[in-house]
């Protein structure tokens, strides 16, 4: 647990969209899914998920509905809308470009050494 990375500001939304893209999930399920797909490498305080979820719903990227969870409890499930799917594609592309560029820049050795 100690070598978990603090997530960059603004990337939580992307992670949520990615997690939900694999199927409708409730809030706790999203957290588990993020942990699963990131190999538990990211540190997210559980409550911090919710402002992000509401923001995405408000932007029309997610839609929510009440249902029953696998634990037989009531839960609010989130799934992607068409706009959300599009946004996920765009964000993924631009993240990849950015990550490649930064990785490239960091890998470059100073010329004059």
């Amino acid at each position: 647990m100690t070598d978990q990375a603090q997530i960059l500001p603004g990337t939580l939304d992307l992670l949520i969209l990615r997690a939900v893209s694999l199927g409708a999930l409730h809030g706790y399920g999203i957290l588990l899914r993020i942990g699963q797909i990131s190999d538990n490498a990211l540190l997210i305080e559980q409550g911090a998920l919710y402002p992000g979820l509401f923001r995405l719903v408000r932007q029309g990227l997610l839609k929510s509905s009440w249902g029953t969870s696998e634990n037989n409890r009531r839960a609010k499930f989130y799934e992607l809308t068409a706009a959300g799917r599009k946004r996920l594609r765009q964000e993924t592309d631009s993240w990849n470009r950015l990550a490649t560029a930064i990785a490239c820049a960091l890998a470059e050795r100073p010329e004059e050494a």
Partner: protein, 884 residues
């Protein structure tokens, strides 16, 4: 789509706050439960698992707050915060707040009043079902659809109307309930009138086509709700009761519903009677085809699918048929169909209201420009505060929102005050009887629409002047401003404020110019030559049809009345005219006139259509009309004598070439009568003051007697005494004869009414414009002085003269004033071309108006800069320089 979603979300969060709260609470609680389930499954006791889940979740309150912010849920909270802050700021500068609120109250009030008028006059259709398909033939289409036989033909031959009704006005009828006889006004309507209107009686029943069985066969009347309420005190027993109209018995059938006030907007009748009975009240015979006086308007619903243009073609086709069939009795110009209510005054009323709307809009624009520059000055003054807030981490968006909130608060307050004022004014207007004893009124709408309009105007203008300083805030650089201190830069270049001030002053100058042009026009029209002298003249209406008197005795009785009135002390001369004298109630008769050599007397061949007056000997003396040639009419010009006439100069010029040529020549009337010209009278005005010079002829009343006549009495005596003397003289002749006295000057008020109203409205707008320019210039000058106090102090310390100080302080505002006024004057002069439409003799090429505007604007400038100038001069350099 996304905007809509977001909006819906926002709305939901506004109205379902508590529900949302509960839902969020529930969702977070369930999250912790799910986590606890997992922990429990890994072997932790339930209580411990829940405790740990809660800790892992983190600060629940903090996240809830964040969720609210994420959903825009704190919108209301931050708005309230802004509003509270704005109120505090406004309270800190009460002078500014009061000036701003007052300015807007005036501007929005003016717009609300104009909207109330527009709503009542134009937007609101008649209060009948499906009024949108109700069309009527224009009044003034003489002698076409103003006669009953022609109406019958139109009703039966047209293919456009579902059914066609018609009505005529019967004014000044004595309505005798048995207890008292009071003069009332009604509509004589065709039997199908109420059925065409598709309304049901409030009480009793209406008359229908089945009640009509020829002339004078339906002695029934229907009361309007208002008249039933005021005269009969809501007595439900009136149905079936008998009343007398001008001595003839009529039975009350029923009462109209409260919302129905006849089919004219300006004139509300007291009762309705069948048109087949209107002859009893002294109008011409219903069978006369060539008259223009038995029908006022025909109206009906167009059939589904029939457009007004198709209907016009159809009606014109019927007209062409009638013209072929009755070439001597029918003549009509092209038909105009109009929406019911305003009749032929529609275009003029619409133009007037449109003009008012434009002017009121200009006022609001000027007020917005005024407030915009005030707000922008204020923003400049508050740049330090804005800079501090920016430096402390406030967002520009938030600061702008606060400033807009301030602007909107002011505009809403102004709107509320303005609305209160305008509602009071509209209430007065709607009950105002602007011409005594005439049942005309101004239809005014006072309903929810007015409030909505005022609210929207307030909101829009608030946003409009609120965004003026936006650029200032957006560009504000906190570091620079805080460093620079409060004096700031004194701008030399043209700023937004300068432009706004020039625009505002130009608009105000337009208003001042138009109001001056209108006032001058009115003054001139009061002093123009009417062709008679209305001063010291009493007009006495006597309708002999109201008493039992056989038609052949009417002229003798009228002569007895003339002789009797002559014996009153102080009376110089007395004359009589059949129907209305010139310029009374904009009512007059025209008749076709043919040249001597014309033999085919169809209306199309008429040479001219002069106004026709049948007058007694002595009329010209009493009216003060001077004769240019020939003789006046005499008592010898009676039924047995050859037909003669006195014509006016215009008639003489157009038919006979000149005045000198006219006397002794002949012309022909529609019925073929040869008329010999015995005299020529001066030109005059007959129907309205704005008419072009028209021909007129005066025929001897003895040759075409009529029981409805006006006596013209010239006397220098006090009108009240004279009126009572006249009344008692006539009562000596017949005790039961209703007499109606009014000075001719008062009656002229009716004709002058449109230009009076226009002048009044423009005058008010002009005064408002002047007030706005004062506040605008004052604001600018005061601001400029206060900004430059320090500079002025230094100038004075260095020995500047008073004049130089004033120039430095006020030169710029005065320059802007001059520039704006000049622009406004030019625009105003262009605008007065439009005014000439309503205001008589409104000409902009009037040196007095030009001088007046220049003088007014300079006076306004002087007035507005007086206080700032005093302040600039009172600068004490030693104190001022020590302060900073």
């Amino acid at each position: 789509m996304r905007i809509l979603d977001s909006l819906r979300f926002r709305m939901a969060s506004l109205f379902q706050r508590s529900k949302m709260h509960a839902e969020i609470e529930e969702e977070l609680r369930l999250h912790i439960q799910h986590r606890a389930d997992d922990l429990e499954r890994s072997g932790v006791a339930r209580a411990e698992a829940e405790r740990r889940a809660r800790i892992e979740f983190g600060g629940r309150e903090k996240y809830k707050e964040e969720i609210h912010r994420a959903t825009g849920g704190n919108f209301i909270a931050s708005f309230l915060q802004d509003a509270r802050y704005s109120l505090r700021m406004l309270r800190k500068s009460p002078g500014f707040t009061a000036a701003a609120v007052l300015t807007l109250a005036l501007a929005i009030g003016a717009n609300a009043v104009v909207f109330g008028l527009m709503d009542g006059l134009i937007l609101r259709p008649l209060n009948v079902p499906q009024s949108e398909s109700l069309y009527g033939t224009h009044y003034g289409n003489n002698p076409g659809w103003q006669s009953y036989p022609n109406y019958l033909d139109l009703r039966d031959r047209n293919r456009s109307f579902e059914d066609l009704a018609a009505f005529n006005m019967v004014l000044g009828v004595g309505l005798d309930t048995g207890k008292d006889a009071i003069v009332a006004n009604g509509f004589a309507a065709t039997g199908n009138y109420f059925d065409v209107m598709r309304i049901q009686p409030y009480l009793g029943r209406f008359f229908h086509s089945s009640d009509e069985h020829g002339p004078n066969s339906a002695p029934y009347i229907v009361l309007t709700y208002a008249y039933w309420h005021s005269r009969f005190h809501d007595d439900r027993g009136v149905v079936g009761r008998q009343v007398r109209l001008d001595k003839h018995p009529f039975t009350i059938l029923g009462v109209t519903p409260p919302g129905f006030q006849g089919t004219l907007l300006f004139l509300t009748p007291d009762f309705f009677m069948p048109i087949v009975n209107q002859e009893q009240l002294g109008t011409e015979s219903l069978n006369t085809r060539w008259t223009e006086h038995t029908v006022f308007e025909s109206l009906g619903h167009l059939k589904p699918g029939v457009t007004p243009a198709m209907a016009v073609a159809d009606v014109d086709a019927v007209g062409a048929y009638l013209e072929r069939t009755y070439p001597k009795e029918f003549g009509h110009k092209t038909t105009v169909l109009s929406r019911e209510g305003l009749t032929s005054f529609g275009p003029a009323v619409r133009a007037f209201v449109a003009g008012l709307t434009l002017l009121a809009g200009l006022i609001l624009l000027a007020a917005c420009a005024n407030l915009g520059s005030l707000f922008s000055a204020r923003a400049a003054d508050r740049s330090r505060e804005v800079a501090l807030r920016l430096a402390l981490g406030s967002s520009r968006k938030r600061i702008l929102r606060q400033q807009l909130t301030e602007a909107v608060l002011i505009s809403l307050a102004g709107g509320a005050v303005g609305l209160l004022g305008s509602v009071a004014l509209l209430r007065r207007l709607s009950t105002w009887q602007f011409i005594p004893n005439v049942p005309l009124h101004i239809p005014v709408a006072l309903d929810a629409k007015l409030y909505v309009v005022a609210f929207v105007l307030a909101l829009v203008s608030g946003l409009l002047f609120g965004i003026v300083p936006v650029r200032q805030v957006l560009r504000a650089n906190p570091y620079e401003i805080v460093k620079a201190g409060s004096s700031g830069r004194v701008g030399r270049r043209l700023t937004v404020r300068d432009v706004l001030l020039v625009v505002q002053i130009a608009i105000c100058a337009v208003l001042v110019t138009s109001s001056m042009v209108a006032v001058r026009g009115l003054v001139r029209s009061l002093h123009s030559n009417f062709g008679f002298d209305p001063r010291d003249t009493m007009v006495v209406g006597v309708n002999l049809a109201t008493i039992d008197l056989s038609a052949d005795k009417v002229p003798a009785m009228q002569r007895r009345m003339i002789d009797a009135l002559k014996t009153i002390r102080g009376v110089e001369s007395v004359g009589l005219v059949n129907g209305y004298p010139p310029l009374v109630y904009t009512a007059s008769i025209r008749a076709n006139v043919f040249k001597e050599e014309t033999s085919d007397l169809r209306p199309a061949n008429a040479a001219i259509a002069p106004f026709r007056y049948d007058v007694s000997p002595g009329y010209f003396e009493a009216a003060g009309t001077s004769l240019l040639a020939g003789r006046s009419l005499s008592w010898q010009d009676d039924k047995n004598a050859p037909a003669v006439a006195v014509i006016n100069q215009n008639f003489a010029d157009r038919i006979f070439g000149s005045v000198a040529n006219a006397v002794g020549r002949n012309y022909k009337l529609q019925d073929g009568t040869h008329v010999q010209v015995v005299g020529v009278a001066e030109n005059g005005k007959y129907m309205s003051l704005t008419e072009d010079q028209e021909p007129a002829m005066f025929l001897p009343f003895l040759q075409s007697p009529m029981s409805d006549a006006y006596l013209v009495v010239r006397s220098k005596r006090d009108p009240q005494q004279l009126a009572s003397a006249i009344r008692s003289k006539i009562r000596e002749l017949d005790a039961g004869l209703p007499v109606d006295t009014e000075t001719w000057s008062n009656l002229l008020n009716v004709v002058l009414f449109p230009s009076r109203i226009a002048t009044m409205a423009l005058g008010v707008m002009g005064v408002m414009g002047a007030m706005l320019s004062i506040t605008g210039i004052f604001g600018m000058a005061a601001y400029s002085v206060s900004k430059r106090m320090k500079e002025l102090g230094i100038r004075m310390a260095l020995g500047a003269q008073r004049r130089e100080v004033l120039m430095a302080a006020l030169g710029r505002p005065l320059k802007l004033l001059a520039f704006g006024s000049a622009a406004g004057l030019l625009l105003g002069l262009l605008a007065t071309r439009v005014l000439a439409f309503i205001v008589y003799q409104a000409t902009p090429r009037d040196p007095l108006v030009l001088a007046g505007v220049v003088l007014a604007m300079s006076l306004l400038g002087l007035l507005a800069t007086w206080i700032p100038a005093q302040r600039a001069l009172s600068v004490n350099p030693s104190i001022l320089l020590r302060e900073e």
